[in-house]
């Protein structure tokens, strides 16, 4: 089980307080679909994904990105029990959505990159390390119920 030190928790919650979840969520999901186009396989019904600008401006992408990142916010409130917090979502992603867990790792890293671009110097190596631990923990928790 992942254990977060007090410093790591502070690094994570400190930054999270300043994140615009709606904006950042759309950006993260959008970039995932742009940089790793094969991830578009899960979103056939999202309409126009034909170019980077189409994807980043797509309202369904923005809405879904917001949903995903809001859920991430729940992870931050439950850092000591990520597996428990994501049990239901894990079952959903396996049984209904059929998402390869590798995609959780890809999205986690895209999120880290977006945080770096938003926070610049403030996103120090130590802050990044805490976030890498979090996104890895979330990815693992989301894959935990796979069978």
């Amino acid at each position: 089980m992942v254990h977060f030190s007090a410093e790591e928790k502070a690094a994570i919650t400190g930054l999270w307080g300043k994140v615009h979840v709606e904006e950042a969520g759309g950006e993260a999901l959008g970039r995932l679909l742009v940089v790793y186009p094969w991830t578009q396989r899960f979103f056939d019904n999202f309409g126009n994904l034909s170019s980077a600008s189409a994807i980043m401006g797509n309202p369904k992408v923005k809405a879904h990105g917001k949903k995903v990142l809001t859920s991430f916010g729940d992870a931050i409130k439950n850092m000591d029990n990520l597996k428990g917090a994501f049990a239901k979502l894990s079952e959903l992603h396996c049984d209904k959505l059929h998402v390869d867990p590798e995609n959780f790792r890809l999205l986690g890293n895209v999120l880290v990159i977006i945080l770096a671009s938003h926070f610049g110097k403030e996103f120090t190596p130590e802050v990044q390390a805490a976030w890498q631990k979090l996104v890895a923990g979330v990815a693992t928790a989301l894959a935990h119920k796979y069978h």
Binding site: N109, G120, P125
Partner: protein
């Protein structure tokens, strides 16, 4: 996988900016690598890896200089990095998984230094470029 004309243009234009801070970027990417992925330190038992150390600055500069060579010969990265490819295959033998980790940390560093330039298209171009560099560096492994 190869770079489109547009992707090459993006990389070349951003490289002008990046090269003005090359050493800092190389050093910071390594600091991020060792902080987030401590297992990567196992390849550097002979280095002082404290942030700001001379070893880190030297090695960071080396890594970015090599990327610069790849950018200069962006149409023939294999040729530009042939010697480095042999070095990694026969001498260094860094496990291939680590190239992804360093590539990610380079992207994080570039994103934090040049947020306005690091658009979704630029992000794609750089991710692809670093994947190609990683493939070249591991192509002689076996």
């Amino acid at each position: 996988m190869s770079l489109t004309k547009a992707e090459r243009t993006v990389i070349l234009s951003m490289w002008d900016k990046i090269s003005t801070q090359a050493d800092a970027i190389g050093t910071q990417a390594l600091e991020r690598l060792f902080a987030s992925y401590p297992q990567t330190k196992t390849y550097f038992p002979h280095f002082d890896l404290h942030p700001g150390s001379a070893h880190l600055r030297m090695h960071g500069a080396k890594v970015v200089a090599a990327l610069g060579e790849a950018v200069k010969s962006i149409d023939n990265i294999g040729g530009a990095l042939a010697k480095l490819s042999e070095l990694h295959a026969y001498i260094l033998r860094v496990d291939p998984v680590n190239f992804k980790l360093l590539s990610h940390c380079l992207l994080v560093t570039v994103a934090s230094h040049f947020p306005a330039d690091f658009t979704a298209d630029a992000h794609t171009a750089w991710d692809k470029f670093l994947s190609i560099v990683s493939a070249v560096l591991t192509e002689k492994y076996r």
